[in-house]
């Protein structure tokens, strides 16, 4: 079946502009996670969803970052007034349920803020 998809695969934006990153999870997966990975670094947790609700938003770096999930499926991560330090690969993962289940990762969106 289809895996996790993300769009766009690459995004170059100017400092100060807003960007939207999209994630399509595997059908039937109730949990959806967003991570950020800077060059050569680890996976930084941003937020996770159980259905349409986000029990844990603790990883969002600032109020410029927000995310939503609609219909228990597609999720959008929005970054407002982008800064150069936002440049990274943004990875989305989904799993059957939160916690102790395998996460399936999407290919990521590489964001470059100039």
């Amino acid at each position: 079946g289809a895996g996790v998809s993300q769009s766009p695969s690459n995004k170059v934006t100017e400092k100060g502009k807003d960007v939207e990153l999209r994630c399509d999870p595997i059908s039937g997966h109730t949990a959806l996670y967003w991570y950020r990975q800077s060059l050569g670094q680890g996976l930084e947790f941003l937020i996770y969803f159980q259905g349409n609700s986000a029990p844990d938003k603790s990883g969002l770096p600032s109020d410029r970052f927000s995310a939503e999930r609609t219909g228990g499926s597609v999720s959008t991560l929005t970054i407002q007034r982008t800064q150069q330090e936002d440049s990274a690969v943004y990875l989305c993962a989904s799993s059957y349920s939160p916690g102790s289940y395998e996460q399936y990762f999407g290919p990521g969106t590489r964001l470059t803020v100039t």
């Binding site: 670094q41 680890g42 996976l43 996770y48 916690g99 102790s100 289940y101 996460q103």
Partner: protein, 110 residues
Amino acid sequence: QQPVQSPQAVILREGEDAVINCSSSKALYSVHWYRQKHGEAPVFLMILLKGGEQKGHDKISASFNEKKQQSSLYLTASQLSYSGTYFCGTESGGYQKVTFGTGTKLQVIP
């Protein structure tokens, strides 16, 4: 809080063994292991649940010591395909989110 992985990097020759350690300051409910090859997304290897279990996956196995809040990943008779960055992810009871370590970069050379 982020789990600590060691070593940060290791170079092996084909056929050699390696151990990657992951430790946490929090009581753990589960430990996840993933491998990420350069330019690709992380891929699941295994999950260990509390209860001190061990698991095997071909020549890659892992243990989870709940009391010590530690997990170890064992790679035996390493192959070139084992090269990549290995991440452990930890879940502390009730929180459901998985927090990943900084990764261990493993390179297997001929």
